[in-house]
């Protein structure tokens, strides 16, 4: 009898714990509450979905801070509409990176919110491949501050079969991004490698949407620029080491190596193994490894002797490369958060939210009309922003094309130059 009561009590306790967990622990920020819905003076919700755990944490935390700065500067409002911002996490501690389950949960949560007008995310292109179809059904405007995979918006070289149609079940677009896509980054990487004197390169990719797509772009651009590509293969991100691949690369007699993927997919170990096998090779990486989790040994990144051989490309530039508005952003960011060297990605979080706020303000009472919000975002032309002046084209891509080249010094990314990619 006593055992039975204990069992009943345990079940009730478990159900209570489950209920508490289901309430969630999302970080709410932004303007105050109020009735949502159409009409001026209402409240609209804006969400971000970024991997707040794992190797990308410093970058995404900076993005969230940039988003909050934009909202604070606007007084929590866009015209007469009060904007409430919620930061969602699409990563798990166990995975140390984004997971499809977390991304899907975030997208469904936002899709079920009648007051949601915009979704800033994802950080990873593979994550957007999950959330785009979900939000397309609603639709809710989705702005990525970091995705570069070509196939998310177009079928240009680098896209996989069936892309981008498979992400838009309604046939209409709702997703746009403010970073240049990988046709640009692929060309930029090939340009940098050629400029550095590479004659034969080997590419490994992490087989994700972003990594596999970018590797195709690099291969196409490299061949167009006369750079021989000895191989382009996928890796097992969970492998304990990559000595076998490193031996293959060594046998191929290359003088340059590129990993097309993200830090969380074995990048650190891969670069260490390749560097040990081919000590003279120059090493390159895309924006997927342009983070402190890769560059800083104190955060589990590559050691200094390997880092000295690495260059990475990322759409962010040095502060003085931006227009005056961009430089002011860095000053404001430093003043608000006490950060002397803000992470470069902060500006993309800021611009994503600023774009939403400016568009909402422009729409006035129609701000809470989701379709009008999407149409207005896609009609963005000649926008003078902290990133420079850009349009959003019919696919949802930005017309910005600059990529920064960074080396690694003292565990930090050091801006080297802006590369204008040779795309022909």
């Amino acid at each position: 009898m006593r055992v039975r009561w204990l069992a009943v009590f345990a079940c009730l306790l478990g159900a209570f714990a489950l209920g508490m967990t289901a309430c969630g622990d999302d970080d709410d920020d932004g303007g105050g509450g109020g009735d949502s819905g159409g009409g001026g003076g209402g409240t609209a919700n804006v969400y971000s979905s970024l991997p707040l755990q794992g190797a990308s944490r410093p970058q995404t935390t900076a993005m969230v801070d940039g988003i909050k700065l934009a909202l604070d500067q606007a007084g929590g409002k866009a015209g007469e509409t009060t904007i409430k911002y919620t930061s969602l996490d699409d990563s798990t501690a166990q995975a140390g990176s984004w997971t499809p389950e977390a991304v899907g949960a975030n997208a469904r949560k936002v899709a079920g919110d009648d007051s949601a007008i915009a979704y800033i995310g994802e950080f990873n292109s593979g994550g957007s491949a999950v959330s785009i179809p979900i939000l397309n059904e609603v639709p809710i405007a989705q702005i990525s501050p970091a995705n570069t995979a070509v196939g998310l918006t177009s079928d240009e070289p680098g896209a996989d079969k069936g892309e981008p149609e498979k992400y838009y079940p309604t046939g209409e677009r709702h997703y746009l991004r403010i970073v240049p896509k990988d046709t640009i980054q692929g060309a930029a990487l090939a340009t940098v490698m050629k400029k550095d004197g590479c004659t034969k390169a080997y590419i490994l990719n992490d087989k994700e949407v972003y990594g596999a797509g970018l590797s195709r772009n690099v291969e196409i651009s490299a061949k167009a620029q006369g750079l021989e590509v000895a191989g382009n293969e996928g890796i097992d991100p969970k492998a304990p080491n990559f000595r076998s691949q490193a031996a293959t690369i060594k046998d191929a007699g290359v003088d340059c190596f590129l990993f097309s993927g993200i830090t969380a997919n074995g990048a650190v170990q891969l670069y260490k193994d390749v560097s040990a096998a081919v000590s003279d090779a120059k090493l390159y990486g895309p924006d997927g490894v342009a983070e402190s989790g890769f560059s800083d040994p104190k955060e589990g990144g590559i050691p200094a002797d390997v880092a000295s051989k690495v260059k990475v490309t990322v759409a962010t530039l040095a502060p003085d490369e931006y227009p005056p508005e961009g430089q002011k952003f860095f000053d404001d960011f430093s003043a608000k958060y006490g950060e002397q060297n803000p992470d470069p990605y902060a500006i993309y979080g800021y611009e994503a939210m600023k774009l939403v706020l400016d568009t909402c303000k422009q729409l006035g009472s129609d701000c809470t009309d989701r379709q009008k919000m999407i149409d207005a975002l896609f009609a963005t032309k000649g926008r003078e922003s902290v990133l420079g002046t850009y349009d959003i084209d019919e696919n949802g891509d930005t017309t910005l094309t600059d990529y920064g080249v960074y080396s690694i010094e003292g565990g930090e990314l050091k801006y080297e130059e802006t590369v204008k990619a040779e795309t022909g």
Binding site: Q53, A55, G96, N241, S244, A276, E299
Partner: protein, 233 residues
Amino acid sequence: MEASTEAARGPVRANAWDRVQKYIGQYGLIAVLLIMPVAFGLNDLATDGNLTRLGNNLVAGLSNGAIWALIALGYTLVYGIIELINFAHGEVFMIGSLVTAAWFWGVIGLTEETAILGLIVGLLASLVVAMLTSGALNVMIERVAYRPLRSAPKLAPLITAVGMSFILQNVGLLWKGGNQQGVPDLVDAQHTLFTVFGVTIENADILSVAVTIVMPKTVKSVCCAFRRSGTPC
């Protein structure tokens, strides 16, 4: 006459089929597993004109497999003694690795620039720390989680082991976060010691195989030393 002939043919066919089944049972899996290496070998011969790439892959497989074999040894040891599949074993291995890395990197301060003698002594000391840490952790787990369930049905300690696995995973996550953690390459793992027909044998290959050969013998000696009197060893 016909009936007896028919009766004689029947048992011969059954024996032949039995033999085929027996061979398939004994060697079928090996044959299936050999399909890939043979296919790759033929491809390498066609493209490179030699089997060096296959050889390098086999060496890498043996080297990595030796580490898995050590972990499997732990599973087998625990199961053989207390008949429990210790699902927390991998996590104990993980905690032991993290403690060892913190020890030789953070406490002793071993780096790639440390002199050879210092490296050898430091790594041996780290080995002892690793064994003591993992052993102590397993003793604690056994005392807290498994011993109270000695008389319970087998499923109970199995589920408890899964629970301990989750606990240790989250201890690791709380301590080191979700990122992959790199450590200095103190043994110069990819230094080529010698080549055999173009196949490179590196420091890591020799080390992993040597440890895997020595460890089971050591474990057997320890178990035999502590066995109950009269129990064959």
